[in-house]
Subunit: 295 residues, 6 copies
């Protein structure tokens, strides 16, 4: 009988280790940008859903924001449309936007809702249209060829205003909001918005304690490929300046920085490929990935 | 100046005529099955959205349930799938179900939400997955050829259980729930459910005062093609028996009858092609279409 | 069948026209000074009561303030007292004040309460004494003969303080407060106060959206007898200066102006002889009478 | 210094004596029928108002119901109407009813409201019309001359229904309801109702702990003129039977008995001529008058 | 019958006299330092408990703070420890502190709770540890012999912080908090704190209307031994300066003055040997003892 | 970096394992009888406090009931009293009861409160006197020598009634009630009650989900000394009958059985010597000790 009791003792000790973290985040809001492998690998998906439900049960208000690039690509190709990208952003004509909406709101969003509900939570899917959550406008981008010229890439949007009423209302009733990054324009037209930006803005408006961005890398790496575990705004500026940061990580860090500066206590870029990385990040001493703070 | 004032007087008189109806339905719940032309004609669409917002403002808890047949057909044909129907029900393999969900939850539902919000309401779109609203199971249908044999037509579902928490929560916070007829099975699989049935069941669970089914006919017609303005359960049985009722009206009336028997005070099959038919039905003495009561 | 449906369509369109107004005033407070013909003509009375109940049902907090000149005159003459007036104000000895109170609080107020309740509302009558609503003091008026001399005209009062608790409490419970313009002095004595002034002050204290003064004229008329539909504070000053405004309209406009300056969004002097004029003013595009705003 | 302290000690002891009574009635409802001398003598009036406010402050929900016979008589005579009585009830034509309403609702009711407010309470006057409190119908009385013939004595009413919402709403907000015994008929006509009956019915509907009827006698007297301090329903029946009870006391006791049987814990007929009799009855061991219980 | 009624009349008059005081203190908070004879004499104890319950029932939030010197002395002597005092404060080693806690929290506190409950209240005993009410630190005192040297007298504490949540929570639920003057240090160690200081600080934090310190003297006496009934901060300074105040009264007055300056409306040093002195002080015109105000 | 991440992964997996348990017990009440070694060993004490706070944070309403035998013994011997026991129960004269109360309420209870607060909770100590929680009467026991003779062993009590108001009030405000097993008699006298019985009765009254009794044994052992992990009421009866159960375990099991029969879902007798045994029992698959259910 000794053996199993010892094991049990270890379990209890590990649970007990979570106490100070639960205490600190109890009643606080955590916004999670869900994406990458964690959204495609079956085992990681289930792990994510369990993490979300557990965080909810220990008193944390979890809000999930998701993207959906690969799934969009798939349907586009099925209906015979080829994606065109300018500066990493998809040129989105009305037909493409229809596909984007259907995939994000009708497929990806509902799968996440189902996943969380299956794990015992009560998730409710939203887009920026529901309850007037996100008002957006067309994002014009600077031409890299012709200075001072703006390019119209269609239904790609930027956030104008967030009305968090529906999110508060759901949180108050114990639901877990799952948000697809679609905004609604003044004329009822819709816009596809970068999910990292949506997560950052929602975190800011909700005065979230944490913003967690799940990626497919271990976090921010230095020039030697080593993980940087913590960064201040100032240090980020240096890394931008010396070219350490580049590629897909650029917008992610920029969005993280904005949220941190706007009052979100800490922003984390974590490795979604690590099982239960969300739980690890929030409830244990083992940080995963890179933490960014304003100072 | 006399002329406009006279006009004004008429307007006021008409507004005043609505008083007893507003009084009677204030604080009550009305479930509306939205479909047909009212969902495709631009002017009728706007009229419907205005009606919903006005009913909400005069204190009625409006819940919208919608279908989406034509839009589904369109996307299916774009991805090269041909619809197959057995006994009027679409055979729905997994691939088709994906399309159904994307169209209903990602396109039709969001358009209605946007429409209502543009008219000044605060709509929130739901499917049966959100908040665990509708639990469903596979509907097996009787073969017409081989008695006692059940046919499997895929992801076509029947309602097992309704958990109205999310609907109550939204109504309490002043939102207008807009529900796509998709249910969630025990294994996380999804089902396409007849929207009339969903509307009827939701009305029943919410103890609604009224269930309004919007169609493309003037209502229930007798053998001479004349509109029947009122029917009791008993009279419906007679019409079934003598073959007056047939075709697409059959399931609609059956669903209306179930709701009426389960306690919904009155069920109305109204002509969605008449502008503002919803308002007319609820707030004026002019009934539109056929009213069905249990007795 | 065509004919009635067409009529119905018109009705619905008219109802729908009210939507933006209902939306704008939902949850707001409207104070109505009720008086003149609208208070004596049987048909206008019923129309007024219906209007009040309908406004209440569409979510507007209606507060009614009333006068009662003619009815007071009648009882005074029955008990053999002759009314004496100085500068348009009734000289009010204690015996007269008793009659004034009995008529206003015991007869006129209760008739209005009954009228509204009969139309389906839940009205509750108040005077300034109930719940300590209006504290008043004696109004001394300047002699027109002897400068610097003040005349005592008895129990005619001016408002010292308003404690709106009882009004808020009734509104919160869904009742419609109906207020007789009587104030209570420091020694428990009572004062008759001009009903327009009471309505204006109550509107100001309640931060009302609208103050509506019902009269027996089409509104403010210019020198040619034409209705002026809109006036700013500045324009009113000009009209005062050039003598366009005079007679009974003077105190009414003065009171309207005070309310507008104190934050009531708009004040309306409307023609109570037009049926349902209250509804017309608030819920349709047809303004009736003159609107006064601070700028 | 000894002397005043001794006095003080006595005071404190007397206050302390009230403790068990305050404890017992805290949060309970007491309905008081206010009338007779206590309503005309200046010093008794002030004493009554102080008692009511003190009871309110120690946590008792006080509801006052009042009559007003003498004041009605006075105005009737001033307008030249002579009161006619059948079986002790005033024959009340419409003109008389107008006078009754004006006196009760416009004069007596407001005086009591003012009196209580002056003592530091927050009273609100009501008639049975306010908030639809009392629905009444015409009381037909049996002719003493012709058996089986009913006499119509005009606007004298009996209670059909009580809707206590407005009373609960006022009590909940800390106000003291003061009720004039006027009921409202189906056609909007009004009825004068015996105040003892109104008090009894209100006590019953509110499930009051106590009903206190203030009179101008020491209470119920036996044949020798001695005060009877307590009576059960059974004992009352005996007194009725042997003719001990008669005259004006009859309806009072009958009303008391009805209330007691309907669940009011105790009914008290007390001597309103004794200063602070209300306080004495409720907060001290010194009962005043006669207590009636169901058994 | 005349005789008892007369007596009753006097009682009622005395009760009525309390009205203005009840009105003034209704809903306000009164902190009482309970100690001295009032805590040892059986009859005074019962009187105190009745006073507390009566004050609670008339709507006053009573909070009791108590000391316990004599009882501590008794147990210390039983376990063979001799009390040592420096500058009037008990030198408190850990063993002594254990005794102090056991007596204050386990004996004296519970006796007061029981006493109040027996009188019909619902008291709940607390120490500064419960709900983290009082955080304290070690009080170092100045040596009288060696200037600039601080003496360590063990577990005698000073208040660092008060977290009134538990007190508010109990008051809101209708309970009467009874507080033993023990504070909790950063390392979980406990401190004995002067009960007058605790009462003063609690009164300040709760923004109490009154602080009442019960003593064994008639109040503050002047040089001729006459009671001073009222003192301002300035007058207290004079009395300090001229040496009128001295001995045990010094810290009491100092604490009273601090509370008065920090916003407690009035502080009273009253004679606990007078029966029901608490009631007398709060609910009658007979002040007992000395009242101290900031100005 | 691989190594720590692997460790982290294990941690996360273990945390995730707690999910179903947290889900099941969220919002439920767990009563813990705290005693034995877990109350004396410093490390076990801290572990217990951490467990309680963690359970509270994951949404479980924890109520602690404690004993205190050894500490009582110690003080008794210091004051020169020798404990006398009859049938395992301490003969408790008034002087002894004083000691018992001081130790339980003034020392043990406050230490537990401090311990939990130090771990980040907000504990509040209670005895059965606070808020009238436990009403008790004297327990008379049967003489083993003389049949039919009852022995009086002083202030040893049995529970007559539990008024859980104070416990509900504290739980609702987020506090953790810590209860000393002292009850209050009709005359204000106090009784020492067996802590297992108090825990069982409190669990029953609160309709607790679980009752956990912490002991110094691995649980219930069979005749060969092997742990029995689960028992039904029926099986307990058999063990009683065949003499397997005896000694100190008898009353514990009897109390467990009563609670189980009265509706507590499961009762656990666990080994308090195992670190974090409380957490293990409630949040992991590793049961510790013996579970008793009604069937």
């Amino acid at each position: 009988m000794t053996e199993p009791i010892l094991q049990a003792g270890q379990k209890a000790a590990l649970l007990a280790e979570a106490l100070p973290y639960i205490r600190r985040f109890h009643g606080k809001t955590v916004v999670v940008k869900y994406g990458g492998n964690a959204m495609t690998d079956e085992s990681l998906k289930r792990g994510f859903a369990h993490d979300v439900v557990l965080l909810k049960l220990v008193g944390i208000n979890v809000v999930v924001v998701h993207g959906g690039g690969p799934q969009i690509e798939e349907l586009l190709s099925r209906v015979g449309k080829k994606g065109e990208f300018i500066q990493g952003m998809r040129v989105t004509d009305s037909e493409t936007m229809d596909i984007v909406e259907m995939v994000l709101a009708g497929k990806v969003n509902k799968e996440i809702v189902e996943l969380i509900n299956h794990a015992g939570g009560k998730a409710v899917g939203l887009t920026g249209q529901d309850g007037g959550l996100i008002r957006a406008s067309k994002l014009m981008i600077n031409s890299t060829d012709l200075p001072d010229q703006l390019l119209d890439i269609g239904h790609v949007g930027q956030i104008e205003q967030v009305d968090p009423d529906i999110v508060y209302s759901l949180l108050k009733s114990g639901f877990i909001p799952v948000i697809a990054p679609i905004g609604s324009g003044n004329q009822g037209e819709t816009y596809n918005i970068n999910a990292d930006l949506v997560a950052g803005k929602i975190a800011e408006i909700l005065k979230a304690e944490k913003l967690v961005l799940m990626t497919n890398t271990p976090g921010v790496l230095d020039r030697k490929g080593q993980l940087i575990t913590g960064l201040t705004a100032k240090e980020v500026d240096t890394l931008f300046a010396d070219g350490t940061l580049s590629g897909g990580m650029l917008p992610k860090i920029s969005s993280a920085l904005d949220a941190a500066k706007a009052g979100v206590h800490s922003v984390h870029i974590i490795d979604g490929r690590v099982p239960n990385s969300l739980l690890l990040e929030i409830l244990t001493a083992e940080g995963v990935g890179t933490m960014i703070r304003s100072h």
